[in-house]
């Protein structure tokens, strides 16, 4: 992710990561992995639920977490590209998303 960041910024795309992790957990992740993009905490999974991404009981001790999903949202808040993986071992490829980003007029 961080590796692709320069390419994302060049395409005018700002990544934002969201999970049920607490701000403290995300802070240590960001420090360890040297992430510079924003990481937001949805500990009660309210936004995750609103986006219908809740993966029930998939977290520690049967807690609810987010399924992996990526949305490319343009400046008017409209989805331009979306990816819902069907296997948690397979993540979105940056090139697919960047191609969609390039099609957004400035």
């Amino acid at each position: 992710m961080q590796k692709n960041l320069a390419e994302f910024e060049a395409a005018g795309v700002h990544p934002v990561a969201i999970s049920v992790d607490s701000p403290e957990q995300s802070r240590s992740l960001a420090a360890k992995a040297k992430y510079t993009f924003p990481i937001l905490s949805d500990q009660k999974a309210e936004v995750i639920r609103r986006y219908d991404l809740l993966h029930k009981a998939a977290g520690p001790e049967g807690s609810d977490i987010s399924r992996p999903a990526e949305f490319l949202v343009d400046s008017s808040g409209v989805v331009r590209w979306v990816n819902f993986t069907e296997d948690i071992r397979i993540r979105a490829r940056a090139d697919q998303m960047l191609a969609a980003a390039r099609e957004i007029p400035h």
Partner: protein, 153 residues
């Protein structure tokens, strides 16, 4: 009359071990890098199945036709290992794909709901802010990529 049978090497356990290794390496790579592709996953699954088949064949040969085939110990070790790894792979396969349908999630062309969430410093950040936010000295973003992930807990 002495029944002379030439003992043959039982290669099945070793093939089981080889395919077990292939399955473990392919699966491990996808987990470590999270750059798994469908093809690599299918290959690892296939390797696990082949390993299990060779494992069963190896045990069958060593114990069922022990006058012909050697390798009782190797067939047991590698056969059981192959079956364990194959079982684990089926288990992981099932769990990695047991994802919610997310039929109500925003689709292409739809407007996403706004939200406000705390960042790593505990400051509240809204999507509206992010969409209009410019980097120091940079232009406002063309788009924001929302990455929902499972988290590290």
């Amino acid at each position: 009359m002495a029944d002379i049978v030439e003992r043959r090497r039982n290669s099945a356990p070793w093939l089981a071990f080889l395919f077990t290794l292939v399955a473990i390496i392919l699966n491990g790579l996808t987990f470590l890098t999270l750059r798994g592709t469908q093809v690599v996953l299918w290959l690892s699954f296939l390797a696990g199945l082949i390993a299990a088949v060779y494992g069963i064949v190896g045990i069958g040969r060593a114990f069922g036709r022990s006058r012909v085939f050697s390798g009782k110990v190797s067939s047991l070790i590698f056969g059981v290992l192959a079956l364990l790894v194959c079982g684990l792979m089926v288990f992981i396969w099932y769990h990695a794909r047991a994802l919610p349908a997310s039929a109500g999630a925003p689709q292409v062309g739809q407007k996403v709901p706004d939200f406000t969430l705390p960042d790593t410093q505990g400051r509240n950040v809204s999507l509206t802010q992010l969409l209009g936010h410019a980097d120091p000295g940079g232009a406002a973003p063309k788009a924001v990529l929302l990455i929902f992930y499972r988290g590290y807990w």
